[in-house]
């Protein structure tokens, strides 16, 4: 259980907000996204300094011991600033998967490093990009006392930058989680061109790659990781949606056409009102999912609701934001399209809205 107080949470969010405003602004983001790694190592170091990389890692392993509620709040800030960094890949997905693995040795071996900013990532789905058991196209088999991986994983975030790869693979009719170090022979890493240029997606080809299995963890651990990752993603979406809406409303107050601020026209004003409802929905859904997951009870319904509600809200708000800006947002130099690209990416990572809607119904027994 998280020991954060409301004040702790607010203070941490405020620190991250200030840091990102200071060193993670649009100009910094555009510089970072043009580099091979896709992120600013100095900014990442400062985030690590604030504890963000180990936010959900147990204090026993040098983390802050935060839970879904703290994570969601920080991800709102990251989403608002379109943070390009391995936070989601390493600090969320990898940290959550290792923590859920139940392998004490692996936790001791890996988590303190992650908390200090070492980068790990999770390879889960194949080319189908479904983040479901069906989608896994890496297989593990034993050869004497060792395990070896063969197959393909795709849509792996920051695969090229990661020191440690956590690979979900089929084994003995089920699934296992395997640790593979960077540079292991037989592992081929290809960076994929991404529409959201602030993301770094890679494809991993495994040719008889030696790997270490994490305990006996199987799909349950993956599912646990996916839930906290979905909450984090929902937070990022809620934060991004809010920020791009704020930008748009601000523009509508200052842009004059026909002698009036365009926000005085109902066409713009009414779009803004509808989008505010979407933004509030997203924030409510993300925070509620975090609370439910933190509560330790049955959180599926809340998590899947957040997954599709936040994706839909962010996609709609980012798309309408360009329309409301008009021509200025049709230029590369304007930030609105960066939000649209991120919204569109976030709506596919870990599964698309129709899939989450299906699971939402199933979670409520329908």
């Amino acid at each position: 259980m998280s020991t954060f107080t409301a004040e702790d949470r607010a203070a941490m969010a405020e620190s991250v907000r200030r840091l990102l405003a200071d060193k993670g602004d649009e100009a910094a983001l555009r510089r970072a996204m043009e580099t091979p790694s896709g992120y600013d190592a100095a900014l990442w170091a400062e985030l690590v300094e604030l504890g963000v990389a180990g936010l959900i890692i147990d204090p026993a392993y040098d983390g802050l011991g935060g839970g879904p509620v703290e994570l969601e709040l920080i991800m709102e800030e990251a989403g608002a600033a379109l943070l390009a960094a391995p936070l989601f890949a390493s600090g969320v997905m990898a940290a959550a998967l290792i923590s859920a693995s139940g392998d004490e040795g692996a936790k001791e071996r890996l988590l303190p490093g992650l908390a200090r900013g070492r980068i790990a990532t999770v390879a889960l789905t194949g080319d189908a990009g479904t983040w479901t058991p069906d989608g896994v196209t890496v297989g593990a088999h034993s050869h004497g006392a060792r395990a070896f991986l063969d197959g393909t994983a795709s849509f792996v975030l920051h695969g090229a930058a990661a020191d440690v790869l956590l690979v979900v693979a089929r084994v003995d009719g089920g699934f296992g989680i395997f640790e593979v170090a960077k540079g292991t022979p037989g592992l081929e890493i290809t960076t994929l061109p991404s529409f959201d240029r602030t993301l770094r997606l890679t494809k991993l080809d495994f040719h008889h790659v030696p790997a270490t299995r994490l305990g006996i963890a199987g799909w349950d651990a993956v599912e646990a990781m996916l839930k906290i990752a979905l909450v984090a993603l929902a937070g990022e979406q809620a934060g991004g949606a809010r920020r791009v809406l704020d930008m748009t409303v601000q523009y509508a107050k200052t842009r004059i056409q026909f002698g009036r601020a365009i926000g005085s026209f109902q066409a713009i004003k009414h779009m803004a009102a509808d989008l505010l409802l979407e933004a509030e929905n997203a924030t409510s859904a993300a925070r509620h999912a975090a609370q439910q997951l933190a509560g330790g009870g049955e959180a599926d319904e809340a998590v899947y609701l957040a997954a599709f509600a936040c994706a839909d809200a962010y996609s709609k708000i980012a798309a309408d934001a360009i329309q409301m800006h008009g021509g200025i947002a049709f230029t590369w130099a304007h930030p609105a399209h960066l939000y649209l690209r991120r919204a569109r990416a976030d709506a596919q990572l870990l599964g698309a809205p129709p899939y989450h809607r299906e699971r939402y119904l199933q979670a409520m027994g329908a």
Binding site: D274, E280, N281, S284, A285, R287, A309, R357, E358, L361
Partner: protein
């Protein structure tokens, strides 16, 4: 008096007087004789409006002490306390009424002897309430009222109506309106039930012809009615929860009900309808989450901006739910009436959803309000705001 003494006193009084045997009310507009008898007791014992001055049935208590009393009443399910927070008409009367009027009406309102209604909207003044054309003309110590009001609930049983009428036509529209308590029980007031699109008649038209109202029953002073109205509307918003009705039968369990409907209709495994089902269920859930978050965020009281968002959300919920119900029923939605309750629910909701998307400010007006009050977007130029009302176009 300490909190403990107060609690002891009210508990003792309730123990001695409250039998918890009131019959259910026949409808929401009238109060039966048993209720009236009880309320009279509550008012007599000064439990009804504890924050008010003793001069007007109150006890001059602090909000904290008043709440102690309300909690004790609530604990035993006794009605009648806390009317200083909930009785829209009495609050308005207390705040803006003359002493003559308060003496004549306040107690009766609190005891339910006097029933009230609202005479605000007119056929020509819907979205633009300040465009009312009902006129009140001074005639000695009285005003003579002529005009037509509409969308009035409870007009048939009301003794008085809170009326806005135009008293000055030579000033801009907001500046020439006055606010009255008009007696409904006089020859110049004719109430006609209004048949709604749902084939119900919950509202009335009220035709006012040379009706009379004493200057003592003018609230807040001459031509100050717009300000009185704004205050009364704010009370109303803070008092009334979301009154949106779902299907006639579905009650509160809308989520379960929709899933059950889908199952009954054999459509629970239709992938297309499942997507729609998830969307509609999510709209309702998200609205509930928004409301909960707003309540948690706000230390005290309610904010009309949140209410505005909730109302817009509710419009979408109801219209989309109606569409989903129709789609689930398919051709079954062609039918209607008691023999086909599922169809009747879908049909009723299809039409009654407009009660929320039009009534109490259309969705379009709500979007203006959200844009301007919540997002601080600039207002549109208002061409009729500063000219004498006499010169404003009507139609």
């Amino acid at each position: 008096m300490t909190d403990e003494e107060l609690r002891t006193e009210v508990r003792a009084w309730l123990a001695a007087n409250w039998k918890n045997d009131l019959p259910a009310r026949a409808d929401q507009w009238t109060v039966g004789p048993e209720q009236r008898a009880w309320l009279a007791k509550v008012v007599e014992a000064r439990w009804a409006v504890n924050r008010w001055p003793s001069e007007w049935c109150g006890r001059d208590l602090s909000d904290a002490q008043a709440k102690i009393i309300e909690r004790e009443f609530a604990a035993v399910k006794a009605p009648g306390a806390g009317q200083d927070r909930t009785h829209l008409y009495a609050i308005t009367a207390l705040t803006f009424g003359t002493d003559v009027m308060k003496a004549a009406l306040l107690k009766g309102m609190l005891t339910g002897e006097i029933n009230m209604c609202l005479l605000y909207s007119e056929p020509g003044a819907g979205s633009d309430l300040a465009g009312i054309r009902t006129r009140a003309t001074r005639d000695g110590e009285e005003f003579v009222v002529n005009g037509q009001k509409v969308w009035t609930s409870g007009a048939a049983t009301a003794d008085y109506g809170m009326l806005i009428a135009r008293t000055d036509w030579d000033v801009p529209k907001h500046n020439g309106i006055s606010f009255f308590f008009l007696s409904m029980k006089q020859p110049g007031v004719e109430v006609r039930p209004l048949r709604q699109v749902t084939d119900e008649s919950h509202f009335n038209e009220v035709f006012i012809t040379d009706a009379r109202v004493s200057a003592d029953f003018l609230l807040g002073g001459l031509n100050n009615g717009w300000r009185v109205l704004q205050t009364a509307l704010a009370y109303e918003r803070s008092v009334m929860g979301d009154g949106a009705r779902g299907p006639r039968r579905a009650g509160d369990g809308a989520a379960n009900d929709l899933v059950a409907l889908a199952r009954e209709a054999g459509k629970l495994d239709d992938p297309v309808l499942r997507q729609d089902l998830a969307k509609v269920l999510s709209y309702r859930r998200l609205n509930a989450l928004n409301n909960a978050r707003a309540k948690a965020d706000l230390a005290q009281g309610t904010s009309s901006s949140i209410m505005s968002l909730g109302k817009l959300a509710m419009s979408r919920i109801l219209h989309e739910e109606a569409r989903l119900r129709t789609a689930l029923l398919g051709a079954g939605s062609l039918l209607d009436g008691e023999a086909f309750p599922r169809a009747d629910d879908a049909n009723f909701l299809t039409l009654n959803a407009y009660f929320t998307s039009i009534g109490g400010g259309t969705d379009q007006i709500q979007r203006n309000i959200i844009g301007e009050r919540v997002l601080s977007l600039p207002k549109e130029p208002e061409i009729d705001r500063t000219i004498p009302f006499r010169d404003v176009r009507a139609g």
